[in-house]
């Protein structure tokens, strides 16, 4: 049960487009020195959810902000749109099992044999988040999004290392699924809802589109390329 005595979830108040704090293409040290604190970054109105529950969105927001904290290099995972991204992914074809062979029987295998569950990604995340929150409550006393940064960090590390024992869900592969969702949301083209303002592409210096280098490949070879990143949306 969600603890309704605490105002629900930063995510629901603050999800939105990252503001002026998103870093330009600078090295980490330069960026740290120059960029304003992301705490001052403007926040846009929250996005409507397609499939995630408020509890699930809050959990993912807390996970994504731990993976991708707001700092001089980018705004937080949530402010980069990662919850919106994953909500759309889970609501769509992927989340509902497209590309997943679901014929039975479903028999547990060895790790080399990969994913063997009957659950679609949508259902898998529902079960995983429930189990993770139950574990957080049992070990720290509160659901994941209500525990402090150090406890979040520690719990994710225990999941990653296979030390956390969830009820009914194997925490280690669930951690890897969470991690993959964060990386996909942070680094994919913003048309999918994440990587708002091309935050990650600016962070690493990936120019995105249009990428026609036949005339410049030699000129750019071995040199830093300073191109303004562009998304698919910029060419529609």
């Amino acid at each position: 049960m969600a603890d309704t005595s605490i105002p629900r979830r930063d995510f629901l108040k603050g999800a939105g487009v990252a503001g002026a704090g998103a870093a330009a293409v600078l090295s980490g040290q330069e960026a740290l020195a120059q960029a304003p604190s992301s705490a001052t970054a403007a926040k846009a109105a929250p996005e409507a959810l397609l499939t995630l529950t408020a509890t699930e969105a809050a959990f993912l927001s807390a996970v994504y902000d731990t993976f991708i904290p707001a700092d001089a290099l980018s705004s937080s995972g949530t402010d980069c749109g990662l919850v919106t991204f994953w909500d759309r992914q889970l609501a769509g074809a992927f989340g509902n099992g497209q590309g997943l062979y679901r014929n039975g029987p479903h028999i547990p295998g060895k790790p080399e044999q990969g994913y063997q569950l009957l659950l679609t990604p949508r259902a898998y995340f529902a079960a995983g988040i429930k189990a993770a929150n139950a574990y957080a409550k049992k070990t720290v006393g509160k659901e994941f999004d209500r525990i402090g940064p150090a406890d979040r960090e520690a719990m994710l590390k225990d999941m990653e290392a296979g030390k956390a024992q969830f009820d009914g869900v194997n925490a280690k592969p669930f951690f890897e699924a969470l991690y993959a969702s964060a990386m996909e949301g942070f680094f994919s083209d913003p048309i999918h809802g994440g990587n708002r303002n091309l935050a990650s592409w600016k962070m690493i210096g990936y120019p995105g589109l249009p990428a026609t280098y036949a005339r410049t490949a030699e000129q750019y070879r071995g040199k830093k390329v300073d191109l303004k990143p562009q998304s698919i949306q910029d060419f529609i």
Partner: protein, 588 residues
């Protein structure tokens, strides 16, 4: 019951590279050819369009151009004693789909196999002694030689507008090319692609170590090109979206670009898409396939298409499945080593070294090929005496695009998340690249394909069951090769190198190549091979099988060039010999 259609001269199953080549050659010889393609039609103008084709999430991560596992997948296990389970989603590899097949979304790396690979068992036994090969290494000779395939390799390179630099023209070693390659009749049709920073660094270091770097042959055209079929190929833009993607400027060779414009205009050719071939009708007494059964996926209606000649050009797994379902050839049994269908399934033993460097790499300026490579440690290009293994591979920087979901790395010891991870990711994104080893996969008695007893595909057939693990031989090779790559990385001046040899089990989750070979292998003896040297079934005179399935084992070079050369070789045998006198082209 299936609706019986009017008989045609030739039915081709699958319209990728080999199906398209075969269709073109046989229609030109005057035959009426029907190609049955399980997938949908696919054209660059409709399906590989900028900007949408540049969507890494959709096209690469979600396997946008690939076959859906819900339609067909495999079951997988590491050893015959284990229970195989379905590969429920693609991860370690993915299989192609639709018109053009994997030829639409390959990287474009276009090798010829080294001459000794075609006579591998004979060559190794002659050089190292009859007892030198491990007892469980079931490698064989192909029954065809490099010299016989040479004109067909040449044709394919000209079809594709392959960019490269010859190293051996008619026996004369040419500076700047691959000195280890078999003699070529001609130079590549296009000059090498522009060398990347990583390629320059690797080439310089390799040269200093006494190796022989050269430009990787690439069917990503370095200049606009018109192939001998009259098809137009564009100029590569170094956009970094080759493998898994379709090319928006038609610079990457594909059946769609290099053959379909002329093939589809030929009235002797008909393609039926969404035509899902489920089985063959085999007349064992007459040694003939009578017809092919397929389902029109749009209507659900099943058809029986009789034909004089049937050519299986599906992916290796599907070719094995069709042979098994039709009952052509004796199934392989690892317990006895007898039988042929499913035998000698091989993969690719790839590994690599992550090299972290000072230089600006700009990984996003890339093609399917880096293009720089050494072949000094390929196959048996070096002395294996006392090494305890056979085989090898090429070493090349893999900088085929800087797509950020997947092409990132941070040095060991960096946290996987948080501000320290972000800082390291920002710092190293442009300052690392993999030095890859693309290694041989040599056949082993316990690596094979058969039919799964439990799981079925979307049309109710058994899934193919893959039993595969990296043999001890290949693991030793991988350690040796990865060390060589690490030496090169260090000689490049890499600040940090992270070698990752292939020493753990094959698994469904650790992605590398989609290079699958064997299962319907060619050879000299019907007891040990399914096909003769012309890719004709020993058990069925009017049935030919193409593709990676026919390889007795896999070389350390990418497979496509040889798949295509074999298709031309087989087509020549069909048009020049078989049509005059339909029957066995080789007496058993």
């Amino acid at each position: 019951m299936a609706t019986v259609l009017k008989s045609v001269d030739v039915v081709i199953v699958g319209l990728g590279w080999s199906g398209s080549i075969m269709a073109r050659e046989l229609t030109k010889a005057g035959l009426n050819v029907v190609a049955l393609e399980r997938g949908a039609d696919r054209t660059p103008a409709e399906d590989f369009v900028f900007p949408y084709i540049r969507d890494e999430l959709k096209v690469r991560v979600r396997n946008g151009l690939m076959l859906d596992t819900a339609t067909e997948t495999l079951t997988m296990r590491n050893a015959p004693s284990e229970l195989a389970l379905p590969m429920r989603k693609w991860d370690v590899f993915s299989l192609g789909d639709n018109v053009g097949g994997a030829g639409s979304h390959w990287n474009g790396i276009t090798w010829r196999f080294t001459p000794s690979e075609f006579v591998l068992r004979t060559h190794l036994e002659e050089r190292y002694g009859k007892n030198a090969l491990p007892a469980d290494m079931t490698i064989q000779d192909w029954g065809v030689t490099y010299d016989e395939l040479e004109p067909h390799y040449d044709r394919f390179e000209k079809l594709c507008g392959t960019s490269g630099k010859a190293g051996n023209i008619r026996g004369k070693i040419v500076e700047g090319g691959n000195p280890f390659e078999g003699a070529r009749s001609d130079e590549y049709p296009n000059k090498p692609l522009i060398m990347s920073q990583a390629g320059m660094m690797m080439s310089k270091a390799a040269r200093e170590l006494g190796y022989h770097p050269f430009p990787t042959p690439a069917s990503n055209s370095s200049a606009p090109y018109t192939n001998p079929e009259g098809c137009q190929i564009g100029q590569c833009q170094y956009c970094g979206h080759c493998e898994y993607f379709g090319c928006e400027v038609n610079a990457k060779a594909s059946p769609n670009v290099c053959l379909h414009p002329v093939l589809f205009a030929d009235p002797k050719f008909e393609r039926r898409t969404l035509a899902y071939v489920g089985n063959l009708k085999y007349d064992a007494a007459a040694k003939k396939v009578r017809s092919v059964f397929y389902i029109d996926r749009r209507t659900g209606v099943e058809y029986e298409q009789p034909a004089d000649l049937v050519i299986l050009c599906a992916y290796p797994f599907n070719n094995v499945l069709l042979m098994r379902l039709a009952g052509v050839g004796k199934p392989y049994d690892p317990a006895t080593g007898e039988g042929v269908i499913g035998k000698n399934y091989c993969y690719q033993t790839n590994s690599g070294v992550a090299a972290f460097v000072d230089e600006e790499i700009n990984p996003f300026i890339g093609t399917g090929v880096s293009p720089a490579v050494i072949d000094d440690f390929q196959g048996d290009n070096f002395d294996h005496g006392g090494l305890g293994f056979f085989g090898g591979g090429y070493i090349a920087p893999s900088v085929s695009g800087g797509r950020p979901i997947q092409v990132r790395n941070v040095p060991p010891g960096t946290p996987r998340w948080g501000s320290a991870w972000k800082e390291a990711t920002a710092k190293w994104y442009n300052h690392w690249f993999p030095l890859s080893v693309h290694g041989t996969s040599y056949a082993n008695r316990n690596n094979y394909l058969d039919l799964d007893p439990t799981w079925r595909d979307a049309i109710g057939r058994p899934l193919v069951r893959m039993t595969f693990n990296y043999p001890e031989n290949d693991r030793k090779m991988s350690v040796f090769m990865t060390n060589k790559a690490n030496d090169i990385a260090k000689a490049m001046g890499a600040k940090i190198t992270v070698p990752a040899p292939r020493t753990s089990n094959f698994g469904a989750t650790n992605g590398q190549a989609s290079h699958h070979t064997g299962g319907v292998i060619m050879g000299k003896d019907p007891k040990t091979s399914a096909l003769n040297r012309y890719l004709q079934s020993w058990d069925c005179d009017n049935l030919f099988v193409m593709g990676g399935a026919v390889y007795p084992q896999n070389a350390g070079h990418n497979p496509t060039g040889t798949i295509a050369a074999l298709a031309y070789w087989s087509a020549k045998a069909i048009t020049e010999q078989y049509l005059k006198s339909p029957g066995a082209l080789v007496k058993a």
